[in-house]
């Protein structure tokens, strides 16, 4: 995936200012704008899949409802809560960085990564369920309601593609947090130079927003029938 190290240039101690910028202010604005433009590409990247979802849900509503009923709302709900909490801890981490509270910053980053890990754990449990119930599209695909056998494969293809890529972005997010943890630990992050924390925060919140849309669209169709 794209490298974020470049999005906030390496800071030479102590000025933390890259040579091509005039002042720290310009560098922070540039890095923030850079991450926002990158998030635009991510919006369109996931957008392509949401459009595919919209087209096929419009074409095969019955199959999508049947497929959605096979998913576990409980695990999905818990995952949503976990991710929103991790968003909170991330936001508090940015606040801690701004106010120079290094101990809180370190703990909050660890909490965010832990919650990310919990999310991935629950996700792998769900994937295991799908494996057991033969819901992975392809030759070995089995489905309760026979007449939806064909179209439900599209639902599960979309399910695996969307949640799979989301999980991949989650892993990249956790990797990013490791960097931030190291910089927070060795004092690179100060009250003047906290841009990297804020930028990783932007990325993390974006991944959370994608899940906010994924959860209702995949898990909650056809629950009421």
């Amino acid at each position: 995936m794209a490298d974020h190290a470049g999005a906030h240039p390496a800071a030479e101690h102590p000025a933390a200012l890259a040579h091509q910028f005039d002042d720290l202010e310009q560098q922070k604005e540039a890095s923030t704008l850079g991450m926002w433009v990158f998030l635009v590409t991510e919006v369109l990247f996931f957008g392509g899949m949401f459009v595919t979802y919209a087209v096929y849900r419009n074409a095969y509503p019955g199959a999508f409802a049947a497929g959605s009923r096979e998913l576990d709302v409980m695990l999905g709900g818990i995952n949503t809560a976990v991710l929103i909490t991790s968003s909170l801890t991330m936001a508090l981490a940015v606040h801690a960085a701004q106010t120079g509270n290094r101990r809180a910053l370190v703990w909050l980053l660890v909490a965010t990564m832990a919650l990310g890990g919990v999310f991935l754990g629950i996700k792998s449990v769900e994937y295991y369920h799908k494996l057991v119930e033969h819901h992975i599209p392809g030759p070995g695909f089995r489905f309760a309601e026979a007449e939806y056998l064909k179209h439900a494969q599209i639902f599960f293809s979309l399910y695996f593609m969307m949640t799979g890529l989301h999980a991949l972005h989650m892993i990249i997010g956790i990797g990013l947090m490791l960097f931030m943890l190291r910089w927070a630990w060795n004092g690179t992050i100060t009250t003047e130079y906290y841009a990297p924390i804020e930028i990783s925060g932007l990325y993390w919140h974006f991944v959370d927003i994608v899940w906010i849309f994924l959860f209702p669209l995949l898990y909650l169709i056809g629950r009421h029938v």
């Binding site: 704008l33 369109l44 392809g138």
Partner: protein, 539 residues
């Protein structure tokens, strides 16, 4: 007699020697030269395929190569040229070199990201070259499903990965340019004092950033369908191949604007420098670039008029396609109006610019044929379409690129190239190009479909004409390689401003120092301001 010119003592070329100083450089100028080498290599690889295709098509029966090989030839010609030459060439070569200098900055916003983009570009190229060596791919550069996902047996996945990875190179370059142009302009350099090349590079970067992710996801969906039998576009499972075309063309039409917009920026600079006067209607040309960038995203359906799109959607896309033609027309009219009462020079870069305007006009007008649904039903997927987009790509982008390369060559290398030889090669390229592609318009209307390995005999005469033109064009492209390389060693030294042009890049030495300017320039006037006397430019 122009005063004696001497090479600046310290400049970006002698600021560090050895492979390491080049392969780990963060200087946007050196990265531009790395791109120049890579892009030229891919151009000649793609060009070689084109020559073999044209030789094959000289005879109606498919006797030079088997149909299997021919399909791989035109696919690799398409992939190489589109993804590895036309899309990156002007933004990453001329853009990388000039954007920081033209806005008075020391470097791009994220130099390390810039070098990383080059490595991703090369990695993507490696994947595609592997696919080429391992037996090629025969899906066409458009890799339509269900052929690419179900029935093609060639290595689609490596090529798809190559395109996926190289896509990130253009996303990150676009991101770099947008942030640089927004945040790092010299003091006093407001948006309406920016040169038009910066405007068009900015618009191109917008398209790069907004469009490329969609092809990234499309390529992933195709790869997932091939590897894991996810039935996104597979009709036997209820998938719709037309959806693939929607997602593919959503990026690929704006991609053709990624290819031509930077060339338009180069042409604005060349016409301004060529006539030594401000471009006519500066604001209109600037906003035309942005209009093309935005409208370019609304029109992709005109590639699918016959592909099973609904009648009403076809009408919407047709009217929007006509709207996107207007900004291009405005630009062409403004360039022509700039030449009125200008001091029109006949140097090589300006010749390329005038060639561009003429050929791009023909390319644009034939686009109107394709936007009119009734005519498009007859001419789409025939050689008419091939001629249309080659007029815009070869007649437009490559002419613009060559013009820009010649115009800024003294600034890049500090040397002047051989003017006479350059004019000859420009003329050969112009003649060879027209001879190659004009007959294809007629072929297209007669109904010869594209991607045909063998064709009925009554198309032969026009095809032989086209093949003859292709060989002239091939030779035409080799000559610049010769005299530009030759000028590096033996070319006369160029001063800071050999053309007497107005622009920040001409105020610094050539080749410029690593930090571009001794001290950051302050801009206080409109662009393209030519003072009454020009002598001071020859200093």
């Amino acid at each position: 007699m122009t005063p004696t010119v001497l090479l600046p003592l310290r400049h970006y070329l002698n600021d560090g020697y050895g492979v390491k100083s080049w392969l780990l450089t963060r200087d946007h100028k050196r990265i531009a030269l790395l791109y120049l080498a890579a892009v030229t290599f891919f151009f000649f690889v793609g060009g070689a395929f084109a020559v073999v295709i044209r030789l094959e098509l000289a005879t109606p029966a498919g006797d030079l190569v088997s149909d299997e090989t021919y399909n791989k030839l035109f696919t690799m010609h398409g992939v190489m040229m589109v993804f590895f030459f036309l899309i990156p060439v002007i933004p990453s070569v001329l853009g990388n070199f000039l954007v920081p200098i033209m806005i008075g900055a020391k470097d791009l916003a994220f130099p390390k990201l810039n070098l990383f983009s080059w490595y991703i570009y090369m990695l993507g190229g490696l994947f595609t070259l592997y696919a080429l060596v391992a037996g090629g791919v025969d899906t066409g550069w458009t890799f339509y499903a269900p052929f690419s996902t179900v029935s093609s047996t060639t290595n689609v996945i490596p090529t798809a990965l190559g395109i996926f990875i190289t896509g990130f190179s253009s996303i990150l370059t676009g991101l770099n340019f947008i942030v640089t142009i927004h945040r790092m302009r010299a003091p006093g350099l407001t948006w309406f004092r920016l040169p038009l090349f910066i405007w068009s590079t900015y618009a191109t970067s917008l398209i790069n950033v907004l469009g490329t992710p969609v092809i990234a996801i499309t390529v992933l969906l195709v790869a997932a369908e091939r590897l894991f039998h996810f039935g996104f576009f597979d009709p036997t499972v209820g998938g719709d191949p037309v959806l693939f075309q929607h997602l593919f063309w959503f990026y690929s039409h704006p991609a053709v604007y990624i290819m031509v917009l930077p060339a338009m920026g180069v042409i604005s600079e060349l016409v301004a420098a060529g006539c030594r006067k401000p471009v006519f209607g500066y604001h209109f040309v600037a906003f035309a670039s942005l209009a093309i960038a935005v409208l370019g995203f609304l029109v992709w359906g005109h590639h699918m008029f016959v592909a099973g799109e609904s009648v009403y959607a076809a009408m919407i896309f047709s009217i929007l396609s006509f709207l996107v033609a207007i900004p291009s027309a405005v630009k062409v009219f403004n360039w022509t109006a700039t030449m009125y009462k200008g001091a029109v020079s006949w140097e090589t870069p300006m010749l390329y610019a005038y060639g561009f305007i003429g050929l791009f006009t023909i390319g644009g007008l034939t686009g109107l044929f394709l936007a009119t649904i009734a005519v498009d039903v007859h001419v789409t997927d025939t050689y008419f379409v091939i001629a249309h987009f080659h007029y815009i790509m070869v007649g437009g982008t490559i002419m613009g690129y060559l013009g820009g390369l010649h115009f800024w060559w003294p600034k890049i290398s500090g040397r002047l190239y051989n003017e006479a030889l350059a004019k000859v090669s420009a003329f050969i390229i112009f003649i060879g190009f027209n001879l190659t592609f004009f007959p294809q318009f007629v072929l297209g209307y007669l109904g010869m479909p594209r991607r045909y390995h063998a064709y009925p005999p009554d198309f032969q005469v026009l095809n032989v004409l086209s093949s003859a033109g292709a060989s002239i064009l091939g030779v035409g492209y080799l000559i610049p390689m010769v005299y530009l390389m030759w000028s590096l060693r033996y070319g006369p030294l160029a001063g800071a401003n050999p053309w007497g042009a107005a622009g920040l890049e001409w105020t610094t030495t050539s080749p410029p120092p690593t930090e571009n300017f001794a001290e950051t320039p302050v801009v206080d006037s409109e662009p393209y301001q030519y003072p009454a006397r020009v002598e001071e430019y020859f200093g």
